[in-house]
């Protein structure tokens, strides 16, 4: 099933996986890339320009910018994974209930997604984050609040499209319970969710970094790229490296996500390209 999504050659997919893989390695094993402490204090060596010893320079607390970028990969990737996991799990629960049960429950749940989708996104995230307080976990929830309605609608669309298929009809005929039937249907929802998540990942990273840039999200000394750019803003004209390199890291990661998202998205909508024929049957409406 899902493996069909990744079969066949596509330069974008390879490049995207290479980029995201590199950052994932940094997140899992930062020690491979640097032996320095990301959150120390070294006031004599502060704001040093890039040099062989600190090849992306040091920041206002004297920490090596490269080291902080390496450790920051964990914060950003962790945020993206957590947000997409929460959004898709909530989406699966609500979307399948809505699509399968139908009736008033469907109307109620879908009108609720309407409200969330119509809400100005950044204001919703800011307000939620402000309600929950500053911190990484709070930002994850605030961003997930923006994304679950899209997944609920996606899953609902898939479930609706499947309702008249033979395997569902047969399950119903032999008297399987609702929960059991939905469990049979869910595996078919996985591919569209993976594709949707890969398309969203870059934007999730940008949104979370924006909140951190504004001072919410991960608090110092935890390294976080958006926050690092904000901290470097003060020295922008003279010590440009403090703000510039974390921004570049975020940019490269987002491009990596977008390459993967685009390649997988094409496979779902244009199955004749690549070998996505196996998932073509699922590319039905996803309103």
């Amino acid at each position: 099933m899902s493996s069909a999504l990744f079969r066949g050659h596509d330069g974008r997919l390879v490049a995207g996986i290479a980029i995201v893989g590199l950052f994932a390695t940094m997140a899992v094993a930062p020690g491979l890339f640097t032996s320095l402490d990301p959150a120390g204090l070294n006031l004599e060596g502060r704001l040093m320009p890039p040099s062989p010893a600190h090849w992306l320079g040091t920041d206002a607390t004297g920490n090596d910018v490269f080291t902080r970028i390496v450790y920051g990969a964990r914060t950003t990737l962790g945020t993206v994974i957590a947000v997409l996991a929460i959004a898709s799990l909530v989406g699966i629960a609500i979307g399948s209930a809505s699509g399968y049960v139908g009736g008033w429950l469907d109307s109620l749940l879908m009108r609720t997604t309407d409200v969330f989708l119509a809400f100005p996104p950044l204001i919703l995230a800011l307000a939620t984050n402000a309600v929950l307080g500053r911190g990484l976990r709070q930002t994850v929830i605030a961003v997930a609040v923006l994304w679950w309605p899209a997944y609920a609608r996606l899953v609902r669309g898939q479930i609706l499209a499947m309702r008249r298929q033979e395997f569902v009809e047969s399950a119903r005929v032999i008297g399987a319970s609702r929960i059991r039937i939905i469990r049979h249907m869910l595996p078919n929802v996985i591919d569209p969710i993976i594709v949707r998540a890969s398309i969203d990942a870059g934007f999730v990273a940008l949104t979370a970094a924006s909140l951190s840039f504004l001072g919410l999200g991960a608090q110092p000394p935890t390294p976080e790229w958006g926050r690092m750019v904000a901290e470097g803003q003060t020295f922008l004209l003279d010590q440009w490296w403090v703000a510039a390199f974390p921004g570049v890291a975020l940019f490269i990661l987002v491009v990596g996500f977008n390459l993967i998202g685009e390649a997988l998205g094409d496979r779902l909508t244009q199955p004749w390209r690549g070998s996505g024929a196996a998932v073509a049957g699922l590319a039905t409406e996803n309103t």
Partner: protein
């Protein structure tokens, strides 16, 4: 058509009601005491009680909500807790600023994005196409706060050709307020120096947002143009000997513009509540700045007013997109 629009407008009411409830719940969950925010830091407990009573903050939440909705039904958006000004009046001041930024952004994004998309689709695989694809990855992937900083470094820091922030220079006299949009007001009043100054301040923030916008609009236009060029009706048009230009302009483009319209609508909607960062970075006193301070000063009526107006515009833009669809594609009819 008229009845369709009326029905769509009616359908907006439940959504707006939901948004107002969600906002009200959220703002009341904000940590802190709105009465204290309103009374000031040095208020005595007695003053605090007075303020609480005067603003109705001592009543149960559902009652407070009902009171707010009752005033809203009469067209009253309430009074800001911190500035003590009418929210409607403050919105009239801040909304045009965001609108100005939004319009400038969308004009650039559409005027650059659509021609780029068409140009590259008709030269598929050749160098303009490759160059644009590269640009689109950069445009979509760049964090806006990062683009903003880069543009500020280059144009305001190094080249010193554009102002780094603000809507007008310190020595420039603001134009008389007709619309609240400085460029339009200066134009109407015939104040050319003010117009030029306002435009110079508009360039960097609008460009920051438009880079991402143009990349997205161009990408979708290119993609749907390529799809349209594969269609049977394009082959028919070519077979009957129409010049390639006519095929592109009369046959492929109108069909390709449908998805582009959706993306433009989405962008407008996103920018409306999403300019918080840009307004922050460029000291642009618009809805975003207003929302930001409102949230952190626990100014409930302000946050309510902003979300309600932003949501209303979002829903109207959606309706507009659907109506544009019907104009672009005669097969779509609304009853």
């Amino acid at each position: 058509m008229g009845s369709y629009i009326a029905r769509r407008l009616l359908q907006m009411l439940p959504v707006l009601l939901g948004v107002s409830m969600l906002t009200f719940a959220l703002t009341n969950l904000l940590p802190g005491d709105p009465a204290r925010a309103a009374a000031g830091r040095h208020a005595t407990p007695q003053q605090l009680e007075e303020v609480r009573e005067r603003l109705g903050l001592d009543r149960p939440l559902p009652v407070q909500y009902a009171m707010y909705m009752g005033r809203l039904a009469r067209g009253d958006l309430g009074t800001s807790l911190t500035s003590r000004q009418a929210v409607a009046g403050e919105l009239r001041l801040f909304f045009p600023a965001t609108l100005e930024l939004l319009l400038a952004t969308m004009v650039i994004a559409v005027c650059v994005g659509i021609p780029l998309g068409v140009l590259t689709a008709t030269r598929r695989g050749r160098w303009p196409d490759r160059a644009f694809l590269g640009f689109s990855y950069v445009g979509v992937g760049m964090p806006v706060f990062f683009t903003a900083l880069l543009l500020q470094i280059v144009f305001a820091g190094w080249l010193r050709v554009l102002p780094i922030a603000g809507r007008l220079g310190l020595e420039t006299v603001p134009p008389p307020i007709y619309t609240g949009i400085y460029t339009v007001d200066a134009l109407l009043a015939g104040q050319w120096a003010t117009l030029l100054d306002a435009l110079r301040h508009l360039v960097l923030p609008a460009l920051t947002l438009a880079i991402a916008g143009a990349a997205e609009v161009g990408r979708i236009t290119r993609r749907s143009m390529l799809q349209a060029l594969d269609e049977d009706y394009v082959r028919t048009a070519r077979a009957k000997g129409l010049p390639e230009r006519t095929v592109w302009q009369r046959h492929a483009l109108p069909n390709a513009l449908l998805p582009t319209t959706t993306v433009i609508g989405l962008q407008v909607a996103f920018l409306l509540g999403g300019t918080v960062l840009i307004e922050n970075l460029f000291s642009w006193g618009g809805l975003g700045t207003y929302a930001w301070t409102g949230i952190f000063r626990l100014d409930i009526p302000v946050i309510m007013g902003i979300t309600l107006i932003a949501t209303t515009v979002y829903l109207l833009v959606n309706l507009g997109v659907d109506l544009v669809y019907a104009r672009l594609d005669p097969r779509i009819r609304y009853e």
